[in-house]
């Protein structure tokens, strides 16, 4: 085999070699939990992200998920004050983030940052950069309890950025929800901002955990009334309130608002985590996965 | 003598058709109608008498002929060249003032024994209109042998003459013949509610006849287009007068009927009298009539295209009304003949219908006369007549 050797370019056109016995200092990490995402919040990156979301994200989401957005009027009281907001949603699919990015209205849509799992999204430099650019992701440590992630998030919220976070911590493995973790509630209490519970229904059918090819279906995004922690609420109790709110929204989406309110007041809202039964019975209780449902276009007499 | 003559000239007839379509009444100028110097007609037998017309009215059928709108059905019952004019009041040689019954039935044609229709007094249904010693002709305004009203001299059979009472003016007398048509139409209408479509001369006289003769149990609705017509319709006895486009709604509310999807009424009015005879009016009449009712075609229709499905589904009768019935010498003994003319004379006298003569013209201005008659409604007129009493111009009475 003939090997052609590429001509070696001299330093400084090529990288230097390190003398023996010396060590180079560690540069800024280009992946992982300490990846610095501040560049993604400067104007050029923000412009690029806005263009990406509107020009690419919207049509793709509309084609794949055809989302029906309900409850946007509940966000009206928040518009007056102009403070940042934490959006807490349930998590079934990677599609949740694009759906939410295109559903959350102004003025929060373009001042939004998402908390993303450090061990998944920030594994390599390429995925880190893409995540930071596309969804303004900020790494969160899932496995270790770390104050640094929390501080980073709190700093950004105090600076006026709204947070999109999935309190479950990861996508649902089997179609039912996982118990909510305390991050969102903790930040709400610490920074004094409201939490808007959001329920996303249907993305699990499109691209659930483990699959690669999406199957288009219709989805529904339901926004709930903003929640503020009561004076005597600590992060844990507030977290329970948030979880119950999302469960009530799930009930509202599944049946109707009135029945959901009645069950909520009676304490009978069905939980997001599903029945306490193993294996097939949990899957059985999920119900029929309906195929692509053409959402009924609203048609009533035009008189 | 001077007379208006309608001759057989196909080219001019075609021109009349075109001109008449562009503007009603223009056929008088471009068509085969012309003012000529002709010899007066010869009496076919010794019985026939001369009549010198004083006033001769212009009828809707005359206008249709002049504008080339009459049906080919008439080809066999008309003989060219003829002088139009069948609404005539004139003088005879022995000084009587008479109105002429224009129908040329068996008695006038010398047909003996008379046909069954004439024997029953139904001269309007005479079966011998093209036979006998006269040329073919339904009436004396369409027959070569007899002459017609639009001239200074014509001939008539004694059975055609009706004396005019002295108290009637010429204007009133000239309306006797059209009133007789209206009376004949009114007799065939029942006593329920009636709607009359069209408020020209024939329509208004029909309204008057209906009000006078029939004891109507329901309202009399008239559809009139022009303000003068509306005024006349109200005066002559219509209960409700509406615009032509509003007739369906007026019928709906007076008969309390419901409406189906296409705007069709579920009920309707028992009798509809169509005094216009156009496609639109017949279609409207069929739309307004109640199930089992009758649509009376009084105005002469032409060749029209009508959807007969509602007629079939709702068991509606379409009934034509032509001319009138008068007593004839061959009437059956013991049967009281219907005398529409006598009733017409009575009606004209009672209601002073001579007021409906809006204007008269001398023969020389026949083109203006025909144009005025064709646009009578829009110009606030009802009946236009030729004044043959002198050559002096007569203004509106």
């Amino acid at each position: 085999m003939v090997t052609r050797r590429l001509p070696r370019l001299p330093f400084p056109l090529s990288a230097p070699t390190v003398p023996e016995g010396l060590e180079t200092p560690a540069g800024r990490p280009r992946s992982g939990a300490d990846y610095d995402t501040a560049w993604a919040r400067r104007y050029p990156a923000r412009l690029a992200r806005a263009a990406l979301v509107e020009a690419v994200g919207r049509p793709v989401v509309a084609a794949l998920a055809d989302p029906r957005r309900e409850g946007l009027d509940r966000l009206d009281p928040l518009r007056r004050d102009g403070e940042p907001v934490i959006f807490a949603a349930n998590h079934h699919s990677h599609l949740d983030t694009p759906v939410l990015l295109t559903s959350i209205p102004e003025p929060w849509r373009h001042t939004l940052f998402a908390g993303a799992a450090a061990d998944y999204f920030f594994r390599t430099p390429v995925t880190s950069a893409l995540a930071a650019l596309a969804i303004n992701a900020v790494p969160i440590e899932r496995t270790k309890v770390s104050r640094r992630s929390a501080d980073r998030l709190a700093e950004l919220i105090d600076a006026g950025w709204s947070l999109l976070i999935f309190p479950e911590g990861g996508r649902s493995p089997d179609g039912w929800g996982q118990p909510f973790r305390g991050g969102a509630a903790y930040l709400a209490v610490r920074c004094g901002v409201p939490v808007v519970p959001v329920h996303i229904e249907g993305t699990g059918r499109i691209l659930r955990k483990g699959r690669t090819l999406p199957r288009p279906a219709s989805t529904r995004v339901t926004f709930g009334s903003p929640l503020r922690p009561a004076p005597d609420h600590d992060a844990r109790r507030f977290g329970v309130v948030v979880e119950q709110a999302v469960a009530a929204l799930a009930d509202e989406a599944a049946t109707d608002w009135w029945q959901a309110r009645r069950r909520a007041h009676a304490g009978a809202t069905p939980t997001l985590t599903g029945p306490d039964a193993p294996g097939w019975r949990r899957a059985w209780a999920l119900g029929d996965p309906s195929r692509r449902r053409r959402r009924q276009r609203r048609r009533w007499p035009e008189l | 003598m001077k007379a208006l003559v309608f001759s057989r000239q196909p080219a001019r007839y075609a021109a009349a058709v075109v001109a008449g379509n562009l503007r009603p009444g223009r056929g008088a100028r471009y068509g085969p109608l012309s003012l000529r110097d002709v010899d007066p007609p010869e009496p076919p037998t010794a019985e026939w008498v001369r009549v010198r017309p004083r006033l001769a009215g212009i009828c809707g059928s005359d206008l249709a002929t002049i504008d080339g709108r009459s049906s080919r059905w008439f080809e066999s019952v008309v003989s060219f060249p003829f002088t139009p004019g069948h609404e005539i009041v004139g003088d005879t040689d022995d000084g009587r003032r008479v109105v002429v019954i224009p129908v040329l039935h068996c008695a006038t044609r010398g047909v003996d024994p008379p046909c069954t229709m004439c024997r029953d007094g139904r001269v309007n249904r005479c079966e011998r209109v093209a036979f006998g010693h006269l040329e073919p002709g339904l009436q004396c305004g369409f027959c070569e042998s007899t002459g017609g009203g639009w001239s200074h001299e014509m001939v008539a059979h004694p059975t055609q003459l009706v004396d005019v009472p002295d108290e009637l003016t010429d204007g009133q007398a000239v309306l006797i013949e059209p009133t007789a048509c209206a009376v004949h139409a009114a007799r065939s209408v029942g006593d329920g509610a009636v709607a009359v479509i069209g408020a020209g001369a024939l329509g208004l006289l029909t309204i008057a006849a209906l009000r006078a003769m029939a004891t109507l149990r329901g309202p009399l609705i008239a559809a009139a287009k022009h303000p003068e017509q509306v005024r006349w319709a109200k005066e002559l006895g219509a209960d409700v007068v509406c615009a032509p486009g509003e007739l369906e709604r007026a019928v709906r509310s007076t008969t309390s009927s419901l409406v189906l999807g296409n705007g069709q009424l579920t009920g309707g009015i028992d009798a509809v009298v169509d005094c216009v005879g156009s496609e639109a009016s017949i279609a409207q009449a069929v739309r307004c009539v109640a199930p089992g009712g009758t649509v009376h075609l009084v105005g002469m229709p032409g060749v029209t295209s009508v959807d007969l499905t509602p007629v079939w589904q709702r068991e509606v009768a379409l009934r034509g009304t032509y001319a009138y019935e008068v007593p004839t010498p061959s009437d059956r003994v013991g049967v009281t003949p219907t005398d529409d003319f006598a009733a017409a004379v009575d009606l004209v006298r009672r209601l002073d219908l001579g007021r409906l003569v809006s204007a008269t013209y001398p023969l020389a201005r026949y083109q203006e006369a025909v144009a005025h008659a064709a646009e009578a409604g829009a110009r606030g007129a009802v009946k236009i007549a030729f004044d043959l009493r002198s050559d002096r111009e007569r203004t509106r009475r």
């Binding site: 309900e70 009027d73 009645r262 007499p301 | 709604r249």
Partner: protein
């Protein structure tokens, strides 16, 4: 700080005044030295937290009433009635105030465990509301929760099985209302008080009534003695309704009344349409350019397109007050709030009253304004926007500006077409119309069918439109419509003029030369308090 309304005396430096002219606008110069223009106040500040205010009102009722929370218990029959599409005008931006209140009430009901809830649109003899209109009024959440099960519906005044006769007032007026409402344990009425005529006992006694009840106060005699029906204390209409309200109360029907008032921010204080609400001498160059462009565009558009644009406008009304509890106590506070926004003091009367009529009245939302509605809006509503005495003297002239096209919506207003063709062509005298024609229209089976199954106003409704203006008809000497279709205006019995100067010229025959003029400037609504 919103400025209050005031009276402008027109002088030579006054710019031309904006007149509403149906689906368009005109700028008219009023004669200097003898005209005055009544300008409404600027929109009052809306409540900062409407949902909180509503919750507060429900927990702190006025008058002899317990808080709503205490009135709700499991197993009860609850009926929530709300005002129909004739309020507010133009329709307001989502979320509608009715949606906010109904959701708050239902939340309390859910907490108390109430299962049997019906929601009824209290529309009396108005047309049924379509799905889109109901969704706009109560919101999608409530609609989707109740309508599919038939628990949210329109009141049907011609359904014999769903009417309850409650009794007669001492004056012999029969009181008959919706049966489900009458037999409920509690009626919660959600009202929007756009003008002082609305609300109070009228909500239930008229809104849920049938023809049998309504004819006792919707008649010529009552309307002639309502001078005006915007002032409850001078209105026979309201006296009758109050008597009926007492019968309803004595029959054991419990009503928790929730009344709201809105500011008059019809076209916004910022944005392209805000120029219409500004005082003419305060129009900035941008406003003027916007107006010129708008007028040019509108004039070139066909009527249908213009109508569509205007009918789709949603007003950014703000909630200025909400009060709940016992009917009469609540209504006192509500009328005070309505007057706070709309009432402007006026000294004395003039010879002529002018007004520009808008494209919308309570009876042609998403529809066509026919000539009868023009008369009702002008001589009925606008003429009666006064307290004390009318701004024009008796025998004076009223001049209205509206295109008055001879056009009717065939689905919404079928009985209006017959009324215009058959009744008005015979007579325009309200007394004669009432005597000769009202019964046959009220009992016509076809109109009844259309009212119950289609989206049509009841057969007798055009008569009510005519009666609404009968006080104006009797009071004024002449009515002139500027810029209207001549045949239609004449059918109404009025005079037609092409321009305002021509109309003022025509008015000279009645009021003489140098007549004084009052102009009601609208948009938005204004009410004259004449001393």
């Amino acid at each position: 700080m919103p400025r209050p309304g005031f009276v402008l005396d027109v002088d030579r430096s006054t710019p031309p005044i904006l007149f509403h002219h149906g689906e368009s606008f005109r700028l008219e110069k009023l004669p200097a030295g003898r005209s005055r223009v009544l300008y409404p106040g600027e929109p009052l500040q809306a409540l900062r937290d409407p949902d909180g205010a509503i919750r507060h009102a429900l927990d702190h009722p006025l008058g002899d009433s317990e808080p709503l929370r205490a009135l709700l218990r499991p197993g009860m029959r609850l009926t929530i009635c709300f005002d129909d599409i004739s309020l507010p005008l133009p329709p307001m931006r989502a979320p509608d105030v009715r949606q906010r209140i109904i959701e708050a009430v239902l939340d309390l009901a859910a907490e108390a465990g109430v299962d049997d809830v019906h929601l009824i649109a209290a529309l009396a003899l108005h047309r049924r509301m379509t799905e889109a209109e109901l969704r706009h009024a109560v919101g999608d959440r409530v609609y989707d929760a109740f309508a599919p099960d038939g628990l949210l519906y329109n009141h049907d005044a011609e359904d014999p099985g769903n009417l309850a006769f409650l009794g007669t007032t001492p004056d012999g007026e029969e009181v008959e209302i919706n049966k489900r409402a009458a037999e409920s344990d509690l009626i919660v009425y959600v009202n929007i008080n756009m003008v002082a005529m609305d609300g109070g006992h009228k909500s239930t006694a008229t809104g849920l009534a049938s023809y049998r009840s309504l004819r006792h106060h919707h008649n010529v005699q009552t309307m002639r003695r309502s001078t005006s029906f915007m002032d409850r204390h001078s209105s026979e209409l309201h006296s009758s309704n109050w008597r009926m309200g007492k019968v309803v109360r004595d029959a054991g029907v419990k009503i928790f009344q929730i009344e709201t008032t809105l500011n008059n921010d019809t076209f916004g204080t910022s944005g392209p349409m805000s120029v219409l609400q500004k005082r003419e001498w305060e129009w900035s160059p941008r406003d003027r350019a916007t107006f010129v462009a708008m007028k040019a565009g509108l004039d070139r558009m066909p009527l249908k397109a213009r109508r569509k644009i205007f009918q789709s406008w949603r007003a950014p009304y703000g909630l200025t007050s909400v009060q709940a509890g016992e009917v009469e106590a609540v209504h006192e506070v509500t009328t005070g709030n309505v007057f706070r926004q709309q009432l402007v003091e006026l000294e004395g009367q003039t010879d002529i009253l002018t007004m520009g009529l808008p494209y919308i009245c309570p009876y042609n939302v998403n529809s066509v304004m026919n000539p009868i509605l023009v008369m009702c809006l002008g001589l009925g509503y606008f003429f009666n926007m006064y307290r004390g005495r009318p701004p024009v003297r008796e025998g004076g002239v009223v001049i209205m500006s509206h295109p008055t096209t001879w056009e009717f919506h065939p689905v919404h207003h079928p009985s209006y077409i017959d009324f215009f063709e058959q009744v008005l062509s015979e007579t325009t005298d309200p007394v004669e119309i009432e005597a000769r024609f009202e019964k046959s229209f009220a009992e016509d089976e076809w109109y009844r069918h259309l009212y119950r199954t289609s989206y049509a106003y009841h057969g007798v409704h055009p008569f009510y439109m005519w009666y609404w203006g009968c006080h104006g008809l009797a009071y004024t000497g002449k009515v002139i419509i500027v810029g209207g279709d001549k045949a239609a205006v004449r059918r109404l019995g009025f005079s037609a003029a092409s321009t305002l100067p021509d109309a003022l010229e025509m008015a000279q025959d009645v009021v003489g030369r140098d007549a004084t003029i009052t102009h009601l400037h609208n948009p938005p609504l204004v009410m004259a308090d004449v001393k």
